[in-house]
Symmetry: C3
Subunit: 197 residues, 3 copies
Amino acid sequence: MSPELEALVARLVDERVHTRLQHVESALAALKAAPPTCTACPEDRASLVVFSGEMDTLFAALTIGVGAASMGMQVSMFFTFWGLTALRKSKSYAGKSTAQKMVAMMLPDGPAHVPTSRMNMGGLGPPFFKYLMKQRNVESVPDMVALAQELGVKIVACEMSMGVMGVTREELLDGIDYGGVAVFLDDASRSKISLFV
Amino acid sequence: MSPELEALVARLVDERVHTRLQHVESALAALKAAPPTCTACPEDRASLVVFSGEMDTLFAALTIGVGAASMGMQVSMFFTFWGLTALRKSKSYAGKSTAQKMVAMMLPDGPAHVPTSRMNMGGLGPPFFKYLMKQRNVESVPDMVALAQELGVKIVACEMSMGVMGVTREELLDGIDYGGVAVFLDDASRSKISLFV
Amino acid sequence: MSPELEALVARLVDERVHTRLQHVESALAALKAAPPTCTACPEDRASLVVFSGEMDTLFAALTIGVGAASMGMQVSMFFTFWGLTALRKSKSYAGKSTAQKMVAMMLPDGPAHVPTSRMNMGGLGPPFFKYLMKQRNVESVPDMVALAQELGVKIVACEMSMGVMGVTREELLDGIDYGGVAVFLDDASRSKISLFV
C-alpha cells in the first residue's frame, strides 16, 4: 500500500469528519460534566406553616426559620391560626363581634406573653422558660421575629384564619405579607424543606 | 494523486461515517433541547400525615390538602392515631375488648364533634369555633373531608393505629384506602411537599 | 477503480474514525439510559425534627423513622425540647441550678414513662396505651429507639435545648450525636422527606 494513499485518507477523514466529531465529543463531555438542572428540582428554600401558638413551638419554628436564612436559604413562614400570635403587636377590640372579642381575650397579648405548651402550671411556665432562656443568652420570641425580618425571611399572615379569628392588620406587625394557603403551597412546592409546626 | 481517487475516498468517508455522525449529532441536540428529568426529582405531589385529631388541626390539614388538590397536585393524606377521628362515621362497641371500648368512648363521635386544641373550655370551644367559621362561610371538617374525596385526594387510614385503638373499617368512611407507614413514605418520597400535622 | 482499492480505503477510514465514533455512541447511549442525577435533587433520605415528647407523638415519629430506615433510606432524627425525653436514660440533679432541677423534675423519667398527649386522665393514659400496644405486639418507645439505632438511624440531640433545659450528656443514651439546628437543616435540605413532629 502506498503511503500516499494512507496520507490522503487521513487528510480527507480529518477534513470531512474530524471537526464534527470533535464538536460532538466536547458537547458530550460538557453534558457529562455539568448535568442539566431539571426544572422539577427543589430550590434552596425552606417553607414553614406555623400553626401552633405556644412559646416553645413558636421558638422552635423561628429557630429553624432564622437558622435556614442564616445558611443562605430563602425562607417563607406562613403564620396561621394560633401561630398568628407571634405576629401580634397589641390587642384590639374595636369593630369586632362579641364572638371575635372573646377570641381576642383568649389570645395572648403578643409573642412576649404566649404560654408554653407544657410548663404552664398556674402561669409559672412562661416566665420560668424565659428565665431559663435568658440565662443561656437565647433570644425571645419577639426578638426572633425581628431577627427573621432582618434576615429577609418572608413572613405571611394567613388571611383566612385572620378572618375566622377576627384579627385585623392593625394588630399585626408591619412589613409582613398577607395571603392564603396557596401562597404557602406555592413556596413549599419549590422548597427543599417544608414543615408544619 | 488522481482526482478519481480523492473522490472515492471522500465518498467512502461520507458513507461510512456521515450517517452515524448525523445520528449522534441529532441525539445530542435532542438531549440539550430537552434535558432528561432525573428520576430523583420530586413529582407534583403533596403528602400529609394527619396525626392530631383536634378540630383546628384537622381543619388546617384538610385546608392544605384540599388547597393542593385544587392547584392540581396529587395529594395523599395518611390519617393515623387521633387523626382517624376525621374519617369516622359512627361509634361502635361491638366486638371490642373492654380496653378498646374505653378508647371508643374517649374518641369523639366523628369529625363533627371533635374538640379544638385550645378553646375547649367547658365544651364551649368547638361550637364557638364552628360558629366563627360559619360566620365566615368556612367549611366544616366533615365537609372538607367530602370535598377532599371529590377532588381525588387519596385518603389512607393507618391500619396499625386502627388495630391499637380498636377502630374497625365499618366505623370509617367509604371509599378510603388502608395501609401502613410504608404507604405514606412511598408517597412522600415522591412528593414536593410532605408534612406531619 | 479496483474493489481492492475500495476495500483498502474503507478499512483506513474505519481505522481513523470508528473507535472515536463508537466511543461517542456508547457514551450517548449511557447518558440516555441513566440520565445524570442533578446535584439539586434530593437524596434517598428522611429527616425529622422530634419536638414533642408525648408517648404517642414519639411513637409516631419513631415509626416513621424506623419505617424509612427499613425501606433503605438514610434517616436523621433531630431530638429537641420535649423530644429529648426519648433519649433519656435517667434523671440527674447533680450540678444543676434550682430552675434546671425543676425542669428535671417535670420531665418524665425516660421514654418508658412519658405521658400520652390525649389519654392522660389521672395517669391512666400511658399504662393503658402501653397495654393496648402490647396486646397488638407493637414495640414500646425505648424499644423503638434501640431499633432505630440498630438500623443506623442518625440520632442527634439538640445542644441548645439541652442547655436551656439543663439536660447533660450523661443523662442521654450512648451512641448518639450532638448538634444544633444547622445539622438538621443540612440533612433535611438533602432529603426527600422532612417532617416536624
